[in-house]
Amino acid sequence: MKNKIILITAIGLISLGLTTGCADVKEYQKNKINDAEMQLNARKVEKTELNFQSYREGASGANGGKVGGGCGCN
């Protein structure tokens, strides 16, 4: 219970910090942010490795891959 409270508090503080303590980056300043290698999601080519990791490991989710449904895996 104590660990859950700490975890939720940490997530909340990080979220608050990110949304309030960040620079206002203008569109013309986003040349690096908009680079293809800076995307905040998995590459399309990672699709097969995300699949086998969800099949071969107990954990899944929070990465754009399978969450447990849609396949004959645990």
């Binding site: 997530i11 800076m38 590459r43 990672e46 097969t48 990465n63």
Partner: protein
């Protein structure tokens, strides 16, 4: 008098021309037709080997290979209100061969291969005010598993487009085909309509007359997931995404061809709880260092009510050899605790309520490392117009259970 008339006529025409400036030119507001914006071909080859197959009770070969192919077509349209509509259509086809699958029959004569077909369709609207909404559906079909997926998403981007929040809800309404190990399936009696109850409690009915058939029953497995994502640009070189997901499953959550052996030498089909709740929490952080190096990092904490806790951490470092070529070595580390329902071969007690020898639910660590190469030439790959990108990726995977695997993937993009 003539001067007055001319003046009045002149005024009349000038007023007419003034109003004509407010006749809006609508030619620029024509709806754009739906157009094919992007095509992606993604293919992968995977092979693995190990010695803890769940089909044979936690021992035996895990040799497997899989070839997957997905084609994605993205159609885009924009209307006069600057709302952007996207239709995303995907079709995937996988073929796998698995040595352990042959031992669903103890003689090793079961079919050792299978195919999976999985189309999906997604629709999304991104409004000019930063609000987005999407709907999607998917189907997956293979000999032992059938899935229907539905999803929706809502999102909002801030005015300065530095913050994005998105919620996605998914539902998978699946059916598990109860293909059991051969020793558990009763033999049909010729010319005799009858029903039998199997070891896992399912009723199999046989046809009548001369052509007896075994009708393999199906049982439901449902998955419901909600994903909240917060993305934030921190400064010109740094951006972060927080991902929180909750997943609830119910129904038949094991696999009917997984054997479990007990300390007294007896054998059953694995038995797992009919509910499961998963909580993965992830964070992605990408940082552009200088002009050529990028750090792509990811961490996930996972916990579920089957007793598994896991940590995942990965780092990828793209290096821009040129504006059109990047080379990215990567490394992923994973560690998980065991579920109390797991025990190795012949170590389960007959008094256990739930039991499995599937090493996916055991305690282990794994490492995955390799390299990614991305090529995006200005004039197209091999100077072919619209052939926009080649992304090639290879990785080697090892587990402390002894499982080893290799994966190679390629993405060809046309835009």
């Amino acid at each position: 008098m003539k001067k007055i008339c001319l003046t009045v006529v002149g005024l009349y025409f000038s007023v007419l021309s003034a109003f004509s400036q407010y006749n809006v030119d609508t030619s620029s507001y024509k709806n754009q037709k739906l157009k094919l914006d992007e095509v992606n071909l993604v293919s992968g080859y995977f092979n693995q080997n190990g010695n803890h197959s769940a089909v044979t009770g936690g021992i035996g070969t895990e040799q497997l290979s899989d070839v997957s192919n997905v084609i994605e077509l993205k159609f885009v349209k924009q209307n006069e209100l600057n709302n952007k509509y996207t239709w995303d259509f995907e079709v995937g086809f996988d073929h796998h061969t698995a040595a352990s699958q042959a031992f669903i029959n103890t003689s090793g004569a079961s079919r050792p291969y299978g195919n999976r077909f999985y189309p999906s369709l997604n629709w999304q609207v991104e409004k000019a005010n930063g609000v987005s909404f999407g709907l999607g559906t998917s189907i997956s079909s293979e000999v032992n598993y059938h899935s229907l997926g539905l999803d929706f998403s809502v999102g909002k981007t801030s005015k300065n487009k530095n913050t994005d929040i998105n919620f996605k809800g998914q539902a998978y309404l699946d059916k598990v085909v109860l293909i059991e190990p051969a020793e558990f399936v009763p033999k049909p009696i010729e010319n005799s309509p009858s029903t039998y109850t199997t070891a896992s409690g399912n009723v199999i009915s046989f046809g009548d007359g001369e052509h007896s058939k075994v009708h393999i029953p199906r049982t439901p497995r449902n998955t419901f997931a909600g994903t909240l994502t917060l993305s934030q640009i921190v400064n010109k070189n740094f951006q972060v995404a927080l991902i929180a997901e909750g997943v609830a499953q119910n129904g038949y959550l094991g696999l009917p061809f997984h054997r479990v052996y007990f300390t007294d030498g007896s054998e059953k089909i694995e038995n797992l709880p009919t509910t499961r709740f998963k909580l993965p929490l992830g964070i992605r952080m990408n940082y552009f260092l200088g002009d050529k190096i990028i750090f792509r990092s990811y961490y996930r904490y996972y916990k579920d009510d089957w007793g598994i806790k896991a940590h995942t951490a990965s780092l990828e470092i793209p290096y821009k050899v040129s504006p059109f070529v990047s080379v990215s070595p990567f490394y992923r580390y994973y560690v998980q605790t065991a579920s109390p329902y797991f025990a190795p071969y012949a170590q389960h007690a007959l008094t256990d309520t739930y039991y499995t020898s599937n090493y996916n639910l055991s305690a282990f660590t794994s490492q995955f490392y390799g390299i990614n190469v991305r090529i995006t030439p200005e004039k197209g790959v091999f100077n072919i117009p619209f052939f926009n990108m080649v992304d090639l990726r290879y990785g080697h995977y090892t587990q402390t259970t002894g499982l080893q695997a290799n994966n190679i993937g390629i993405n060809l993009r046309f835009k």
